[in-house]
Symmetry: C2
Subunit: 385 residues, 2 copies
């Protein structure tokens, strides 16, 4: 089994890319990562994507990507695990390089969500939940998260405003990220005044529907220093699973798959949570940020929100999160999100995060959630330079 | 890098499963493979599937499968490469075991195509082609294959009837397969009288729309004999790619991805085509069978049809194909097909193919085609007992 490293990253701005097709999104992010890695060919290209069949009418994205990018000799598939598709593709790429079967692997996350109505996009996204037992009741992802947030507030006595800092922190960091969808800070007043989508989830609790693509190049760690001036090692790659439907989980607020996935990752990396310099978590909704902090061991049960209130999630806090804007402000093009998280983690570990740089960051974690918590994929990265 | 073996297989009858949901299809095939392997848990479950999001409204199949099957500790994703999704999932599973990261991996192919109108299914299937340049012209997969067949007949002087033996052989073999959709032989007259769908493709040139699921259990080859009385070694796992759109290929009749994929597989296995005891090829259409035989080195350019005319594709011929009915008679539930091919290959290599047994079969090849030939995945298997 070989250790695996990242030797290049690429991303395009998250936005509503009305005039750009999905093949161009993949091309720009993919070639950008290959330029960064200073390579001209790869052995494989694995695409993380959830909705291209439903929304764009294009399946078979692996073949489209290698064709349009001119990567004649690369094998290519799509990997899907709902909103964790990007990390799932990274997991596949990591296993491919670890096996010794392949050396250079491009892992690309892409999603084009705006080519249809918001209603149709929401319906397609609902396929990440249990179609027969949740979606058939009319549930959407906003509704599922609203139920979780309501229960959490009821159980632990939090108010809606207590979640504000998750959104405020994400927007503050997104303001310095030229690839973020929302590059402007928001205030506590803006959070409080934002319209409610599904009580108690407001507009500022939810990540946006958007388009994006991001990519990383993997190589055997043993060759990484020869290929890149600043490689980053994949110290852990771990998956946790939980029942697909929220009502089938013993404890809906426990985010059990995140707990399993984090624990496995810490064991693989041989570290404790407090050793991490930052944690790029899956803040698709503010409630998910709170639950993720708890599941990953940064807060006691019911206390995740306290970390936000205490500003411990800011760049200077104990657990910096959403350091380049997170899902809330950078945006959440679902199948691409897992790779955006990794690209941003690598930027931090290379010292390239500009105004958002965490001084001396050496060890970072990303966590990508599929559905309402059925699939959770965690990666830990370490600077090699 | 570890060698990988198959220690168990399972399948359900290919049919129109009107009253069975996709989770049950996965459950039955998956548990059947685990029973055959005599195991009660796995480290991972990779699902090959193309259309569950579009047709069933259910994405996130990996999470659904491990949830419903009670495989709490297994990581799970979906892998998609259009009609080659099943083999793509097998490729991922093979890399996972080869890497040493995982030991027992369940690879499951599933498709439920009949939960909507045939028209909608055809439209969803078209997503395997180039949506912007082929599908936007109104092309369907039947139409694409009709164009290829017409050109092939024009270039090489074949008549439509010359393709009959591909369908007749498939149906003759399917008649002895209790899991086949069509368990009845057809005659040359029935082929000749069958209605034309898109000139020159007739009903008997095309595989059916249907539902199905099949599964295999992978383990490190070094432990395989201890786990199974009749393990089968994966001697080669190889992917070839070609441009997504037919009009972008230098030679539309060359099936270049199949040529590349076959060559890689022969090199990995250290064999020549004539060493194989059988070849489970992707006979979604009779023209695809002819082109596959040529691309894999069994016939000269333009001469694939001659092998059918000479009966060399029958169980007693030089290149037995569709030994359990092939895509034509067993059926083609697209994302499951690649795994059905493997299940059938393993049956042959274990001597369990009943009336269709190829005496003394030791070495077999499967080949699974995505789209009109953009992704082609080839596996070679060898009996270990």
């Amino acid at each position: 089994m070989r250790d695996v490293a990242i030797i290049g990253t690429g991303e395009i701005p998250v936005d509503e890319h009305w005039t750009t097709g999905i093949r161009h999104l993949m091309l720009e992010a993919g070639l950008s990562a290959m330029r960064d890695a200073n390579i001209e060919s790869v052995d494989a290209l694995y695409v993380g994507n959830m909705l291209s069949g439903e929304i764009v009418g294009q399946s078979h994205l692996g073949a489209l990507a290698v064709d349009f990018m001119g990567l004649d000799n690369a094998e290519a598939f799509k990997v899907e695990a709902a909103c964790a598709s990007g990390s799932a593709a990274l997991r596949v790429g990591t296993m491919a390089v670890a096996s010794g079967l392949l050396d250079l692997v491009l892992v690309l996350g892409v999603e084009k969500m705006t080519d249809t109505s918001g209603q149709e996009t929401s319906a397609a996204l609902a396929g990440a939940a249990d179609a027969e037992y949740e979606v058939s009741q009319g549930i959407s992802f906003v509704a599922l998260n609203a139920l979780l947030m309501q229960r959490y507030m009821y159980d632990y006595g939090w108010k809606r405003e207590d979640f504000a800092n998750f959104a405020i922190t994400a927007h503050a960091n997104g303001a310095n990220n030229p690839f973020a969808m929302f590059q402007r800070p928001i205030s506590a007043e803006m959070y409080a005044r934002s319209p409610i989508i599904a009580t108690p989830v407001g507009l500022m609790d939810a990540s946006p529907i958007c388009d994006g693509a991001a990519a990383v190049v993997l190589a055997p760690a043993e060759f990484a220093r020869a290929l890149s001036p600043a490689p980053v090692k994949i110290k852990a790659s771990a998956v946790g699973m939980a029942p697909l439907a929220v009502h089938d989980r013993k404890d809906p607020l426990a985010l059990e798959a995140a707990r399993i996935s984090s624990r496995k990752a810490y064991a693989q990396a041989g570290i404790k949570p407090e050793d991490l310099d930052f944690f790029e978590l899956h803040d698709a909704f503010t409630i998910m940020a709170a639950l993720s902090l708890e599941a990953a061991g940064f807060a006691e049960r019911g206390k995740g929100v306290q970390l936000a209130l205490d500003n411990e999630i800011s760049l200077k806090g104990r657990v910096p999160m959403a350091t380049m804007g997170g899902l809330k402000a950078r945006g959440h093009p679902v199948g691409a999100t897992g790779i955006y998280q990794v690209v941003e983690a690598v930027m931090q570990l290379r010292g390239l995060a500009g105004a958002n740089q965490i001084p001396g960051a050496r060890l970072g974690m990303t966590q990508n959630i599929g559905g309402s918590g059925a699939t959770v994929i965690t990666h830990i990265f370490e600077a090699m330079s």
